[in-house]
Amino acid sequence: MKSIQLRVNGQSVERDIPDNTLLIDLLRNGLDLTGTKEGCSVGVCGACTVLLDGQPVSSCLTLAVTANGCAVTTIEGLSEGHRLHPLQKAFIDYGGFQCGICTPGQIMSAKALLDENPRPSKDEIQNWMMGNLCRCTGYYKIIESIQAVADGKVAS
């Protein structure tokens, strides 16, 4: 067992957890933050993407103890009350999701991209987003959604 302290979506969290606890299980089972989804469980599909100190990680491959002392942002931490983050709004308006299972991971990856590079080219978006699989959209509208935010077309 290990004692860890972290901030999740701005809230302080303290937990005693077994060393082998995965970050995704801490979030989903320990904190009931089920917006983070588990798809492939091997760090390929990107559905479980969260931000660890601002960097996108696969929470299914990340031991929760490595988040000790860090800030974790999940999809639940993006909107402010009922006000959607521009990426969230864009994914609705531009058809960036269908079934929605990969969407939290897509949006978290896109947020990490725009935080680092607010005006990415289409190629840069495509390249960055290749770690997030989507089986519904064929990616075109995901790219359009992110491009729309980058181009300032979407107000929050």
């Binding site: 798809g39 469980s41 599909c45 999940t74 531009y94 269908q98 079934c99 990969c102 939290p104 064929g138």
Partner: protein, 761 residues
Amino acid sequence: MASLVSVGRPAGHVEGPSKVTGQARYTADIRLPGLLYGKCLRSPFPHARIVSIDTAPAKALAGVHAVITGADLPNRRIGRFFLDKPVLARDVVRFVGEKVVAVAAESMDIAEEALTRIAVEYDALPAVFDPVEAMQENAPRVHTDTSAYTHPPVPDFVHPGDDRLYPDIPNVVSQVFYTHGDVEAGFAQATREFTHTFTVPPVHQGYIEPHASVVQIEPDGKVNLWLSNKTPFVARSQFAAALDVTEDRVCVNTAPIGGDFGGKGSLMDSVVCYHLAAAAGRPVKMVMTYTEELSAGNPRHPAVITLRTGVDANARIVARQARLVFSCGAYSAFTPLHTVHGSVHAAGPYRMPNVEIEVFRVYTNTVPAGHMRAPGAPQIVFGVESHMDLIARELGLDPLEFRLRNTLVEGDAAPLGEKWKKIRCKETLEAAAREAGWDTEKATHRGRGIGMYDREPGAFGPSSATLSIAADATLTLMTGAADTGTGSYTVLQQVVAQELQLPLESVRVVQGNTDSAHWEVGAGGSRLTHMAGQATLAAVRELKAGLTALAARHMESPREQVTYEAGAFVNTNGQRLALPRLMTALADREELPLRYTGEYVAEDPVEVTSFCAQIAEVAVDPATGQVTLKKLTTAHDVGTILNPLTHQGQVEGGAVQGVGHALTEHLIVQDGAVTNVHLGDYKLPTAMDIPELKTVLVKSDAGPAPYAGKAIGEHSNVAVPAAVANAVFDAVGVRLMDLPVTAEKVYAALREKNSVVKSGA
């Protein structure tokens, strides 16, 4: 008709906010007090007798609440149509991945630990993996006695043939014929004959949400079930049959579905989950890992497709004979009733007077196959459209020209005799060719290839919809149909808003569970916009009729003098009463809630189909065989598009699934076991793998959905593999007869071609 204010405009998904914020709770996200986690031990053998099972050490593990084997369960088999699959294996295992023992424990870790403490002794049996080999007299029998397996009667389909279930051929589940004309007489007229055989491996649906099930049993025995299933009412019937209880003892609850593509229409783990919950006396959740999905889900049927075609001196097709062999795996429980529907496309959208299609579905010791987006069609169309290209090349004709000579045109009967109205086959192909620049020059090692397909909007089963005005005067549409991500909730919302001339956001849409919603077949076969759309129209008619009477009373006018126009009731004096005002008035007088239900069954067969023509442009690296899909043109014959945003989403998502099927996807089966068992090895297309996509819409004005709409969900994925394979031939002159079109295969074919050229020189 009033102008289209909601229908025809792009609308984001009505359930969008819950999905983009992470609030939507999918089945795997459900938490209940006392919830246990279930897990199954699966067979490592493709075919073996179970000699003994020792579960005692697993039962002794702290935190384990139930351990069950097939011997603990009633001897009932389950399935969608064919009931041939045991819940847990009894005596014999028939594929690698078959469930043998199930445990329920306090945590997933404990459940997995318990599985390692179970000892099963097997006695291996001879196994068969290839469906054609399985049909030989000396083949091992996957099932030695099928007499106890039950199935509903074979329905009288559009093309009734001489259908046989369990005919006297080894391992064959069904043998179905579709015939039209006289195929031998047709071949007698032919000046040239061509025969080719194609193979298509199994592929996975690739939804990102693995199957999940949650079962909670109430003290009175009523079962609450959540599962990743797109047809809750059908699931209820199957689940109740599996438990041998009446349907009212089961409630299938709603949860968003994380991708379907045909694969989420079975009970999957839910029945074993029930038995664990019953044994443990606590609710149980089971979530498949993606490894379990890839090795033991319900993939698309692998197929062996042999096509024989006769053409006359004018390059017109005079006869087509098809022999289609599908492997359904070890059980037929996930498969369509008596055939694989796409088989009817073995003739393609071409004029041909004489057709004979023979379809076999065959047991093998492999993972049971199921439905996937246009079941059967992507396999068949890969064969048909590659065959068309091969014939064109042999005849020295341009593949476009050969197709244009044979495409259906207005007034033609389709190959199996259907009399489609408003045939737009040629127009769609010509539109695709124009957009793709078919006749323009190509760089070296670049090629273009065509694929064609047609599919009619789905029409089977009843649909229903209920409009209610709640006590607070809000308007809600309740559907029993799950939205698998296609945007069906949103289309239904648009229909209500359109008919009542109200803003979209004033119409809530909810999916009712099987206790609260009216019976509804659900999603599948591209039917919802048509069938649930028409049921919603019917509900609106009921609501208008009911409210007109109430409005007349409110306006103190005779009922026959009140009509509904542009969002308000209007009497002959020109007095207007807006619908929201009437609803508020009814609320004030405590005359709410009110409910109006519409139902719809398509009495007649659908009279129109939708054509799709696709042209792929590839670049092939002759040094490595690497194929790059540069551009894909997808042309569709469409009716009124109710929601352009989600319609285009279907076109794009389907097209990229077709790209995966064409180039990378393949469940690799060795000695019966799937060997690429995670998404690192099973290659779904990524954002870097998508081609430039050109969509062309050929507008038509006929369709059975509201406002003359058609269907789009199962069109754009189907012909892509053939278009790509044909483009590869066009680019470098090698022909692949099996999917996917990998660099390795193209490289090997190029080497063989070059060595033939050299040795011939």
